[in-house]
Amino acid sequence: MADHNPFPGENNTGHFWDDNIRELNNPPPKWWMIALWASLAWFVLYGILYPTFPVFPWQSQQDGGFTKGLLGWTSIKEYEQGVEQVEAVRAQYEEQIANMTPEQILEDPGLTQYTLASAKVLFGDYCAACHGSGGQGNPGYPVLADDDWLFGGSLAKITETVTIGRKGAMTAHETILSAAEVDQLAQFVVDLADGGEGSEADWKLFNEKGCTACHGQTGNGVLAELPDGTIITVGAANLTDSIWRFRPGGYESAKHTILYGVNQPGIEQTRDAVMPAFGDSAGSLEGKLEPDQIKKLAVYVHSLGGGQ
């Protein structure tokens, strides 16, 4: 340090070492300093307006162990406002849907669009696990996109199925029929599925062994058709088309079903075929779906490709 400044007018700080090493005062550019102070001001202002500092450690985060900010903003509140906005848009459709039958919804293209879009989410949550994302079915779970229905494919029937659930039943014939009879019947249903007519002996056996009680006189699963077009069924499969209830279908599959039946207690190899109830009245499942949601799902499933 020198008392005498050998470099006057140079804008140095007056600190010298070894005669000529000195500290100059070169301030940063003005705009840079302005930006620095502006960002500091921003920080202070932000700290006042928004929740910022976790300064109350004796309080838990839920109780608000932080400064709240003057604006009272929270991310949850912003989220809720966003949801409210979406709900407001939905509300106008939901109000209409609440007072309409599924048939009336399908007559309105705009409402149908909304319902399909909205039900797609419900279908994904509640149905797709078994029936596949597009209703394409899974082994053991029926295809919903085709026109083959066990319990009816009308909007009313679909609503009923979703609401109260379904549980098919078929007797196990392991002890009732002889091996030859089981074999003949299995061959017979494969023949029917492939578009064959079946021999007289086949039909005779089919009738005698009581298959018609559930599968109907013609084997198409229909017990009776009322004059108004309502079809009476107990959920037995239509044996005359090539769609198999229990995939992969074919001789072995048919034989298995005939031998061990469907949903037979005490028989280990029996077919499992249960559709849970999703409606309000379904005590055991605690009413997973609201009636309006079931209404939407009925429209959705009906539109998958095979609604009747």
Partner: protein, 476 residues
């Protein structure tokens, strides 16, 4: 150099050198206060700049009762003289951008940075801003003096008026810009009563401040140190590009003319008056040759010609010429230069694409989405069914009733399209349809299916669109 010795007019020469020391080459340290001189290129500059009036007046143009050009961003509709362009047609924008990029390239290859010198908004706005500055503060020396003078009532008054004008122009710029997007009528109605949305106010504020800062304060520094075009355009020049060029052969060695002195043949025509530097809006010395700071505005040509006239020499010491021409090499005709052909080819292609696009804008468009899960479904009668979601886009200004049909090489049954689809104007309306084909008719796993959409406009015009998709069946 070839001139016969003559006597230069004394008074004019004194005047020339009186201010010569002011004109220094721009190194960024000082504000450039360029001198304004009348002349041929000055007039052309104003004419070229006046094209920008379209920017301010364009939004008030009407077409069939609507704003002629309106970029309606909230509704995603872009109206161009009765044609409505939707975001789906935006591939044309890339062609348009390509067109202008190549136009810039071809112009640069032929005549240098003519865009910078005459049309660029930075140049034009800066020109207007400095014109205002000159009207209020006076000539460059007066401006320099005023800048150095202490703040007093007069200085504050002048500066206040100047900055107000600058901000006003900035505001008009922003306002006019937004009018292209918001609509001029609604903007005048909403803006001043606070009814416009935040984006509008933010855009106008941004443009006001941007214009004020860029044209008022940064000026030629934008061309020097911010603008990428300056650098890109620099490499697109070659020796046959016509740019403002100082005729070195004729001008050097420079010699100051002295009063009463007989002109000597030992010195060149350049009298070293620095007027070319004085008028340069970017403060470069053109006598050093073409350089990054030169925006080829031609103002130094005017200045030099007027000096040459005063000292009684031929004009054109600085003139629009190619380097080849100045060096006395043969000048290649324009059409023999490969880059001219390549650029022109790309220009023509882009233009053809845009014209094709605009002329083939159909009023409806169909997209077909094939259902993936399941790809196909077997029905109880043995036939195979596929599900499709059709998305029908109605680009017309009216609601349309669209009939959908489908065909293939084998008999098909189309379900779900019995009723015509009502499509609101400007919207995409989805429609779910099913196609059924008998299994015996299916020869392979896939089969092409063509969907047709037909509709009729209110004036009776028939419109149709089609889209090919595929039908999927089981493997055999």
């Amino acid at each position: 150099m070839n001139e016969t010795p003559s006597r230069a007019s004394g008074a004019a020469i004194d005047e020339l050198y009186a201010e010569a020391h002011h004109w220094e080459v721009n190194t960024g340290g000082e504000t450039i206060h360029a001198k304004r001189m009348p002349g041929k290129w000055r007039r052309i500059k104003w004419l070229a700049a006046s094209v920008w009036l379209i920017f301010f007046l364009g939004p008030y143009m009407r077409w069939n009762g609507n704003q002629a050009v309106l970029f309606d961003i909230p509704n995603r509709k872009y109206h161009l003289f009765g044609i409505t362009v939707l975001p789906q047609d935006f591939w044309m924008l890339s062609l348009l951008l390509l067109f202008f990029a190549i136009l810039l390239a071809v112009a640069t290859a032929l005549v240098g940075r003519v865009y910078c010198g005459y049309f660029c908004f930075q140049t034009v706005w800066t020109d207007v801003f400095t014109w205002i500055e000159e009207k209020l503060e006076g000539s460059p020396p007066q401006r320099r003096k005023l800048d150095k003078a202490p703040m007093d009532a007069r200085k504050i008054r002048i500066k206040l008026v100047k900055h107000s004008f600058w901000l006003l122009i900035g505001f008009l710029t922003g306002f006019s810009f937004v009018a292209w997007f918001y609509g001029a009528g609604p903007l005048w109605r909403d803006f001043f009563v606070g009814d416009a949305n935040v984006a509008v106010y933010a855009s106008v504020a941004l443009f006001t401040m941007g214009t004020y800062l860029l044209a008022g304060w940064l000026r030629e520094q934008v061309c020097f140190w911010l603008c990428p075009y300056a650098r890109i355009q620099g490499v697109m020049l070659d020796k046959s590009t016509i740019v403002p060029t100082y005729d070195v052969e004729r001008g050097e060695p420079r010699g100051r003319v002295k009063k009463g002195q007989v002109e000597s043949t030992a010195v060149g025509d350049c009298v070293d008056c620095n007027q070319c530097v004085a008028v340069c809006p970017t403060g470069v010395d053109i006598r050093n040759g073409q350089q990054e700071g030169c925006i080829t505005c031609g103002l130094c040509l005017d200045a030099c010609d007027s000096v040459m006239e005063k000292v009684g020499r031929d004009p054109g010491l600085i003139r629009y010429a190619s380097l080849d021409e100045i060096e006395g090499k043969p000048v290649k005709p324009m059409f023999l230069r490969a880059r001219v052909w390549v650029y022109t080819g790309i220009l023509a292609l882009a233009l053809a694409g845009i014209i094709y696009g605009l002329s083939s804008l159909a009023a409806i468009e169909v997209k077909v989405l094939h259902e993936r899960a399941p790809l196909f479904v077997q029905l109880s009668d043995g036939s195979i069914q596929n599900k499709y979601t059709l998305k029908v886009l109605n680009k017309s200004e009216q609601d349309l009733s669209v009939r959908v049909s489908a065909e293939s090489s084998v008999p098909i049954e189309l379900l779900g399209a019995e009723e015509p689809l009502l499509t609101p104007s400007g919207e995409v309306t989805p429609m779910i349809v099913f196609v059924k084909i008998k299994r015996s008719d299916l020869s392979g796993e896939t089969l092409p299916v063509t969907f047709h959409a037909d509709t009729e406009l209110s004036d009776g015009g028939q419109i149709s669109a089609e889209r090919e998709s595929a039908f999927f069946g089981p493997s055999r």
